[in-house]
C-alpha cells in the first residue's frame, strides 16, 4: 500500500487539469511520522510568509492551527489509548493495573476543499472559484478582504492575513497547488511526503484506496479507525479527506460540518417578515396617530 516509489501517484506527472479530473488528498495518520516536510514544502513553494514563532507546549505542535499563512498543519495528538495491536509498556506511572496505554498520532491537516464550499458561496467578489479539478481556489488579486469567508468556513480554515505580513488584508488558504497542477505537477506537500501519508490522486481512486486501508487497519487491531469525509452532511464530501483514529473532535474536526447557506431560508424569511412588519407599523403609526 505504501512506498510505491516512482509508481506512486505522488511522483507522477498528470493531466488532471486538462482532463477535468476530480482530484483529492487522502491523508493517513497511521503512516505519518510527524516530520512536517509538508508544512515546509507548502511554505517554500507558495512563498507563504512566516507568521511568528511561538512555543505552544502542545506536544510537538508549535504551528497551532491552519490560517492565512499556514496551509498545512501537522497535528500531534497524545491519547491514553492503545494504537492497534502495539505492545503496551508497564511502568509505575500508569493506572492501577500498572498499564499505561498511550498513543501519539500525527495528522497533516489542510483545507478540505468541500464539495459544497462555505467560503466559495459567501465570497461577494467572486474571488473564490472552483477549479477544473474540483478544488477551491482564492484569486488573490480579486479578494478585497471583506472577511465573510472566514466566518463561513465550517472547518475554520480560511483566514484574513493581518498586517504587517506581505499581501496583508486578503483571505488565504491552501490552493491545492493549482499552479503546479496546471503544469502537470503534484502538490508540493504530497510530493515531499516521505511515507505517503499524504496521497494525491484521482478522488474516486483515493476513496477506494482509503476504505481498503480502513479495513486493513481494523484487521490489525485499530478498532477506532474511520474515514473523515462528511458525505452525509450539507458539505456533501470533501476533496481532502482523512483517515482518523478515534473521534473527529480530538482532531479539532467538526463531526457534522454544515455549509452555512442551509440557514439562508429561515434567516431571509425572518428578514422579509420584519421588513413587512416595519412598513405596516409605520403606516399604522401615521394613520392613527397623526
Amino acid at each position: 500500500m505504501i512506498g510505491e516509489g516512482t509508481h506512486s501517484t505522488n511522483q507522477r506527472r498528470h493531466n488532471y487539469v486538462q482532463e477535468n479530473v476530480e482530484v483529492g488528498f487522502f491523508t493517513d495518520p497511521t503512516v505519518c511520522i510527524g516530520c512536517k516536510a509538508c508544512e515546509v514544502a507548502c511554505k517554500e513553494w507558495n512563498e507563504v510568509p512566516d507568521d511568528g514563532f511561538t512555543w505552544s507546549g502542545n506536544s510537538y505542535d508549535n504551528t497551532g492551527h491552519l490560517g492565512a499563512s499556514t496551509w498545512r498543519h501537522v497535528l500531534f495528538l497524545e491519547q491514553d489509548r492503545q494504537k492497534g495491536n502495539q505492545l503496551v509498556g508497564s511502568h509505575s506511572l500508569g493506572n492501577g493495573d500498572g498499564e499505561d496505554p498511550f498513543r501519539w498520532v500525527f495528522l497533516s491537516d489542510v483545507c478540505k476543499h468541500c464539495e459544497e464550499a462555505g467560503c466559495l458561496e459567501a465570497c461577494p467578489t467572486g474571488s473564490i472559484v472552483r477549479t477544473e479539478t474540483g478544488t477551491v481556489f482564492v484569486q488573490d488579486d480579486v479578494c478585497n478582504g471583506c472577511g465573510y469567508c472566514v466566518v463561513s468556513c465550517p472547518f475554520g480554515v480560511i483566514d484574513r492575513r493581518p498586517e504587517p505580513l506581505p499581501n496583508a488584508g486578503g483571505a488565504f488558504k491552501c490552493t491545492f497547488c493549482y499552479d503546479r497542477q496546471k503544469s502537470g505537477l503534484v502538490p508540493a506537500c504530497a510530493k515531499v511526503c516521505p511515507t505517503e501519508s499524504i496521497v494525491f490522486g484521482r478522488l474516486d481512486d483515493l476513496r477506494a484506496r482509503a476504505s481498503k486501508r480502513v479495513q486493513q487497519l481494523k484487521q490489525n487491531g485499530y478498532d477506532d479507525a474511520q474515514l473523515y469525509d462528511p458525505l452525509e452532511t450539507s458539505v456533501r464530501g470533501i476533496h481532502a479527506f482523512f483517515l482518523i483514529l478515534g473521534e473527529p473532535e480530538a482532531y479539532g474536526l467538526p463531526p457534522k460540518p454544515q455549509i452555512p447557506t442551509i440557514y439562508l431560508k429561515s434567516a431571509w424569511t425572518s428578514a422579509f417578515a420584519t421588513a413587512i412588519a416595519s412598513i405596516i407599523a409605520t403606516l399604522l403609526a401615521f394613520a392613527f396617530f397623526s
Binding site: 505542535d61 495528538l77 491514553d80 484574513r160 428578514a271 420584519t274 421588513a275 416595519s278 407599523a281
Partner: protein, 329 residues
C-alpha cells in the same frame, strides 16, 4: 527548612497543585506527563474561525439600520403629508446610508481600494453580496429622493417641473424605503448565515432584532432632532415592545454550551445591557412620557447590542465546545 518568603510559598502552591491535579499547567509546561486530554477538542483550539471584523462593522449595522428605516418613516410621512418630517428623515437616510455606512464598510475591508470588486458579481446565496447591492441601490434611491424633495420643498422650479419633481421624490423615497427595510434587516441574515454557533442558532431572531432596532433608532433620532409627533412615539413604543419580547425570547431560547457566549462572558453582558436599554427601559421611560430619555436609552441600547453581537461571534467562534454542541441542533 521552609520559610514564609513569597518565592517559597509559590513553590508550595505548585507542589499543592501537582499533588491535587497530577499536573501543573502554565505556558510551555502544558502537556508532558500530564493526564490526557484535558482541553476540549484539539488542545482547546478554535474549530471555526472567529470573525476578523472590527468596530466599523457593528457601527455600520447601527447606521445602516437607522438609514434604511428612516426612508420607511419618510415614505409614511409623505403619504400622510408631513413634508417637514419626510425631509429630515431623508437627510438622515442619505447621510447615514449613502455616506457613513459605505465609509464604515470600506474601512473594514482588508483591502479598501478594491471595494468596487463587491459589484463584480451578483450572488443571491451570499448575504455579503446581497448587502453590497442593497446598500448601493439604497444610496442610488435615497440621494436623488432627498434632492427631489428638497427642490420641491423650496419651490425652485416653476409649474410642471415642480410637479414632476414631486412625483420623482415620491418614487425615489418609496424605492429607498423598500431597499431600506432590506438594508436594516439583511445584517441579521449576514451574521445568522455563518458557521459561528451563537449566530446561526439565532438566525431567526437576528433580522427581527436588527430591523426593529433600526426602526426604533430612526424614530428616536428624528424625535431628538425635534420632531415630537404621536406617530414617532407610537413607533418608539412598537420597537421597544418588540425588543422587550426579543429579550425574553433570548433568555428562554437557550442552547446550553452551544450559545453560551450570549449568556456568559463580557459578550453576554453587552447583549443584556443593550437589550434592557432598548427594550424594557425605553418602554417604561416612554410610558412615563420621558420621550427624549426613552430615545437616548433606545439608541444606546441598539448600539451596544450591535457591538454585543459581534463580541458574541468572537467568543463563540473561539469556543470549540460550542461548535461541537451546536451540531446537535
Amino acid at each position: 527548612m521552609t520559610t514564609n518568603s513569597p518565592s517559597e510559598k509559590r513553590l508550595e502552591e505548585l507542589r499543592e497543585q501537582a499533588w491535587k491535579e497530577s499536573a501543573v499547567t502554565g505556558r510551555g509546561v502544558d502537556v508532558a506527563g500530564g493526564p490526557i486530554p484535558r482541553k476540549p477538542g484539539y488542545y482547546g483550539q478554535a474549530v471555526v474561525k472567529p470573525p476578523v471584523w472590527t468596530w466599523q462593522v457593528p457601527l455600520y449595522f447601527f447606521s445602516g439600520g437607522i438609514a434604511g428605516m428612516s426612508a420607511v418613516i419618510a415614505s409614511g410621512a409623505i403619504i400622510f403629508d408631513h413634508i417637514d418630517l419626510a425631509r429630515t428623515a431623508m437627510w438622515l437616510a442619505s447621510i447615514a446610508g449613502a455616506i457613513l455606512s459605505p465609509v464604515l464598510l470600506i474601512m473594514d475591508l482588508g483591502r479598501p481600494h478594491l471595494f468596487l470588486n463587491m459589484l463584480r458579481v451578483f450572488k443571491h446565496r451570499s448575504a455579503m453580496s446581497m448587502g453590497a447591492w442593497i446598500l448601493t441601490a439604497f444610496g442610488a434611491c435615497a440621494v436623488p429622493g432627498l434632492i427631489a424633495i428638497e427642490l420641491h420643498a423650496h419651490q425652485i422650479f416653476p409649474g410642471t417641473l415642480d410637479q414632476l419633481l414631486r412625483v420623482a421624490a415620491g418614487i425615489f423615497v418609496f424605492a429607498a424605503a423598500i431597499f431600506g427595510t432590506l438594508l436594516a434587516t439583511y445584517t441579521g441574515v449576514l451574521i445568522g448565515v455563518t458557521a459561528i454557533p451563537a449566530w446561526f442558532l439565532h438566525r431567526t431572531l437576528l433580522p427581527i432584532h436588527f430591523g426593529t432596532a433600526g426602526l426604533g433608532s430612526a424614530a428616536a433620532v428624528l424625535e431628538l432632532l425635534g420632531h415630537r409627533m404621536p406617530a414617532l412615539n407610537f413607533l418608539g413604543f412598537y420597537a421597544a415592545a418588540v425588543e422587550t419580547a426579543l429579550l425574553i425570547w433570548l433568555s428562554v431560547d437557550k442552547h446550553d454550551k452551544a450559545d453560551r457566549a450570549i449568556h456568559e462572558h463580557a459578550s453576554g453582558w453587552l447583549i443584556r445591557i443593550g437589550e434592557v436599554l432598548n427594550g424594557p427601559l425605553a418602554l417604561v421611560l416612554r410610558l412615563f412620557g420621558l420621550i427624549p430619555l426613552a430615545a437616548i436609552s433606545f439608541l444606546i441600547g441598539a448600539l451596544v447590542s450591535r457591538f454585543g453581537w459581534i463580541a458574541v461571534g468572537k467568543v463563540s467562534g473561539a469556543d470549540p465546545e460550542a461548535v461541537f454542541a451546536a451540531e446537535r441542533y
